[in-house]
């Protein structure tokens, strides 16, 4: 159900962009999601396909791209990346602190790019 709400959000933005560009349809939608955004790609794809059925976005391909975490060390302030959700537990590469890293990036969901359909 969570994915349904997200799929609806993606669909609303995509339709809005389509109208802005006076396009007839969209072939591909690229969405980036943070490693800790709580996204299950298979569930989001299924929700998107289900919601768009019979709409102007029917048949549009949804491409989901994971973005790494950006963490800031609570102790020394160093910023470092992690490719996986579990990396929130890794010690700071500079000072070794493993407590309470701040999540600077990694929970976002961003409509990054659309490919408009050519011709009617």
């Amino acid at each position: 159900m969570h994915e349904m709400a997200l799929a609806q959000g993606i669909m609303d933005l995509a339709l809005d962009e389509m109208r802005k560009h006076n396009a007839h349809g969209i072939e591909r939608i690229e969405v980036e999601y943070g490693a800790l955004a709580g996204i299950m790609p298979e569930a989001l794809e299924l929700a998107f396909q289900t919601l768009t059925m019979g709409t102007q976005l029917s048949g549009a391909e949804l491409v989901l791209i994971i973005r790494p975490l950006l963490l800031r060390c609570h102790a020394c302030g160093a910023e470092f990346r992690g490719g996986h959700a579990d990396d929130i537990w890794q010690p700071c590469p500079r000072c070794g602190e493993d407590l309470g890293h701040r999540l600077v990036r990694g929970r976002e969901l961003i409509l990054k790019r659309i490919h408009l359909a050519t011709g009617p």
Binding site: L6, R107, K112, R113
Partner: protein, 224 residues
């Protein structure tokens, strides 16, 4: 043709949440979003808090559940204002639902508004409801690895209530392990250990609510 867009998929929800946050700031209202599993004791915590602090603060509750108005009735029995949102299958509350429930509340007549989210440790964390802070509710009956399994909630919350401590003799729950994991995710997390059923350990929580309200009124409380 390729078009770069770069738009936040949560933008609609976050715009509404930000507008709610402005409204709550104008009213000097402290708003807390309670997030926990079904059965963790969110409603019992509210019953205790509303009952015990009735003379100190004026409080109201927005209850989120898939079905029934059982929880709104329970909290209304304490004399507090309560409004029920039924999501009919939806796994979280969002800012539009909060906006539409406000017409049932007298915002000028309250100091603290509690949002009791749908019982779920995942989805409610993603949807900003305009609150000042999220409070994670965990009970010892659920297991001590919950912070590790649901890191985003414990990372995003300002406070955590560890409930049902009266059950500790009967369950395999390692309190230190759970609290260490939670602190590892969030070094500034305020932690309150209590039993809402027995009514023990609520004092520090009550004091924290008072401090949060004072900070809000002084304009010193910042979201995030």
């Amino acid at each position: 043709m390729e078009i770069p867009v770069v738009r936040n998929v949560f933008e609609h929800n976050e715009r509404e949440a930000s507008s709610l946050r402005d409204l709550f700031a104008q009213k000097g209202l402290l708003v807390l979003n309670l997030i926990g599993s079904p059965g963790a004791g969110k409603t019992t915590l509210l019953e205790r808090t509303l009952g015990e602090l009735a003379g100190r603060f004026r409080m109201a509750v927005i209850e989120g559940d898939l079905q029934t108005d059982n929880d709104a009735r329970r909290v209304a029995a304490t004399g507090a204002q309560a409004v029920q949102i039924n999501t009919h299958g939806g796994c979280h509350l969002n800012s539009s639902m909060i906006r539409s429930s406000l017409k049932h509340l007298d915002l000028d007549g309250i100091d603290i508004l509690f949002i009791e989210n749908v019982g779920n440790l995942v989805c409610p964390v993603e949807f900003d409801c305009g609150e000042d802070a999220k409070v994670a509710i965990l009970s010892v009956a659920e297991g001590d690895d919950k912070p590790a399994k649901y890191p985003l909630l414990f990372n995003s919350a300002r406070a955590m209530v560890l409930n049902k401590t009266d059950l500790l003799p009967y369950v395999d729950f390692d309190t230190q392990k759970a609290l260490n994991q939670a602190r590892q995710l969030n070094a500034n997390l305020e932690i309150f250990e209590m039993s809402c059923r027995k009514g023990t350990g609520l004092g520090p929580w009550h004091a924290w609510l008072g401090q949060m309200l004072a900070a809000k009124r002084a304009g010193e409380l910042h979201f995030g």
